[in-house]
């Protein structure tokens, strides 16, 4: 067992997958010689060579589009978008082909491919390096959207994503890349895609989050538990498309109260979908409205104002208390 941070865990999963399966390729801007701007692909070039670790030209649509071609030819490309903020350049490929080739051919052609991208704020970066726009991918049937929250699940989910027969958008909360370390087991470990994880059981309220927001969520839960003696059930979604309705419904049916924490802008964000699922499947159990704690419907501010924009543990804690007090 080794204590790894998330970027090391991602790197480990890539190396493991490439070792096991010679058809796995890694491609993107600066992924080879440089080892990735976050070092996610460090060392892979030396181990697997330039044919399998490909420094591409600066062209997101071309990266994803050529990955589609490679996947059609039986390879398993893991394409990196350097930042999610540049991934929108490939939305045409994503909508038209990545999500559709299986359906278009009733399964005759499939696309086992992964699109990795760091996303989210909190690292004092330049414009376009801090957004959370997971909905743009999650709303499109045909691909899966996976978001790890820590080193261990990042490694397990990335391995599962590479195994998956279908395209997976693998969104890595860059704020968590080096924020903390976890024991990552030496033996191969995967987690099922499409399943949320109950991080902690509880009876008074369900707290739902994913990605980097799990950290303030956990902190807030601990505070409220301590201060109020409340029992909070915590769900880490891990996959946001397709969503694990059963896990959410079961929990909220038990607790009757729910707070969702999201970094993305509020309107048309994931927490709206979660609220709708609760409305569908746990409505009669609700004792309070679902509380959405989210980024605001404003253009993500530059880092000078970033801290005030991101949901904090304090705000989450207040939201939990308010919801308990209803």
């Amino acid at each position: 067992m080794a204590k790894l941070n998330m970027i090391q865990a991602v790197n480990l999963a890539l190396a493991e997958a490439m070792t096991q399966d010679e058809t796995v390729l890694v491609m993107g801007q600066d992924v080879a010689v440089d080892g990735g701007v976050f070092r996610a692909t460090e060392g892979l070039l030396d181990r697997f060579g330039p044919e399998r670790v490909i420094d591409t030209p600066l062209a997101e649509s071309g990266i994803v589009g050529s990955a589609v071609g490679m996947a059609l030819a039986g390879l398993k490309p893991v394409a990196e978008m350097q930042f999610s903020g540049f991934s929108y350049m490939m939305m045409g490929q994503f909508e038209a082909h990545v999500t559709r080739l299986r359906s278009r051919t009733h399964g005759q052609l499939t696309l086992p491919m992964v699109i990795r991208m760091p996303y989210g704020g909190g690292v004092r970066a330049l414009e376009h390096h801090s957004e959370s726009r997971e909905v743009l991918y999650a709303h499109q049937p045909g691909a899966r959207v996976v978001i790890p929250s820590g080193p261990r699940n990042a490694r397990a989910l990335l391995l599962a994503a590479i195994d998956d027969p279908d395209p997976v958008v693998f969104m890595e909360p860059k704020h968590s890349y080096r924020a903390f370390r976890e024991e990552v087991p030496e033996e191969r470990e995967t987690l099922p895609i499409g399943k949320a994880r109950v991080v902690q059981e509880g009876t008074d309220l369900t707290l739902v989050s994913w990605g980097a927001m799990m950290r303030p969520a956990l902190k807030a839960a601990a505070t409220v538990e301590k201060e109020r003696g409340a029992s909070i059930e915590i769900i880490d979604l891990l996959t946001i498309a397709p969503l694990d309705h059963a896990a959410i419904a079961a929990s909220v049916s038990k607790t009757g109260r729910c707070v969702v924490v999201q970094e993305a802008p509020r309107s048309y964000g994931p927490s709206s979908e979660i609220t709708a699922v609760i409305n569908d499947k746990a409505f009669w159990h609700l004792e309070a409205p679902v509380k959405r704690i989210t980024g605001y419907d404003v253009v993500t501010p530059y880092f000078g104002r970033e801290k005030t924009y991101l949901p904090s543990a304090e705000v989450v804690a207040r939201g939990i208390v308010e919801t308990l007090d209803v």
């Binding site: 071309g62 071609g69 278009r104 009733h106 499409g194 397709p242």
Partner: protein, 363 residues
Amino acid sequence: MPRKQAAKFTVPYLQILAPDGKVDAKLDPKLPDDTLLKLYRWMRLARALDERMLKLQRQGRLGTFPPCTGQEAVSIPAAMLMRDGDWFVGAFRELGGRLVRGEPLTATLDYYNGWEEGNILPDKNLRILPTSVVIGCQIEHAAGLAYASRFKGTDEVTVAFIGDGGTSEGGFHEGLNMAGVWKAPLVTIIQNNQWAISIPRGAQTASETLAQKGIAYGMPVIQVDGNDPLAVWVAVAEAMDRARKGDGPTLIEAVTYRLMMHTTADDPTKYRTEDEEKEAWAREPLVRTRAYLESRDLWDEAREKALLDELKDQVDQAVAEFETPKDRAPDEPFRHVYGTPHPVIEEQRREFLANLKGGEGRG
């Protein structure tokens, strides 16, 4: 001021078979008789199917489709030159090439009548990608396919098509640039049919030729008469050779003409003259190919008639099969969102089926 030169380029042009059927003896590739006969047969078949589809569409028996009449000399020679294992990556006006590669006529008909079933090939190994309606994307796919062939150490080649309009898309640029960097075994053929719906070639780009766009990616380029199957043959054969030898991609501009409407939803009288169309008909590929066959004593009126009859039967049969009612599951889309089931999709499938039963609404 006297200046140095950093680089210089030429765009060669190739025509072998003139509109009147005269062949340039020095350039003639002297294809074997049976190859020429096959070539002509494929061209005639594509034309026959195209014409029938237009009728079917006008009778409400087929959906919207883009006729390919006049462009047979581009994709057919290219497809005939392809081998097993090569990848055929069409835009949406390569009917002939698709047929050559083995796409059944019924698949084409199904596809244009609103059924995904039309994309399912009798054998996946035919390696014909489904139509890429979204223009430009296919060139990026082609770059990746070609990369994969090289990666696997094969001598497979990818042949990709795009329209003159398509050259304006970012996908054309990004895909070809990658193919150039990768020295990928890719032959890209621009079907310059002079029009992108109503936009004439001259309003699409200011470049003198479309072939020269390949200069931007450091690849060999050539412009050919796209109504001349021999010129296309020679240019594609050379490009494929290069690709198979590991010498990288080529860009070919085939100058042709879209003789019919853009799709059956389009009315070309809004934007071009009958005179222009008439002139274009004088350059169309079938007439000159037949003339060439005749000049080589391979063809005559009787054979022509026999061929047309035979092809009519073939098309009739395909249409009959296409129109035979099929039992197609309405919930098919739910089976192919993912390769493994997910409760959300399964739940919606049950809802869908209940809605279907519940009333005509979803049925």
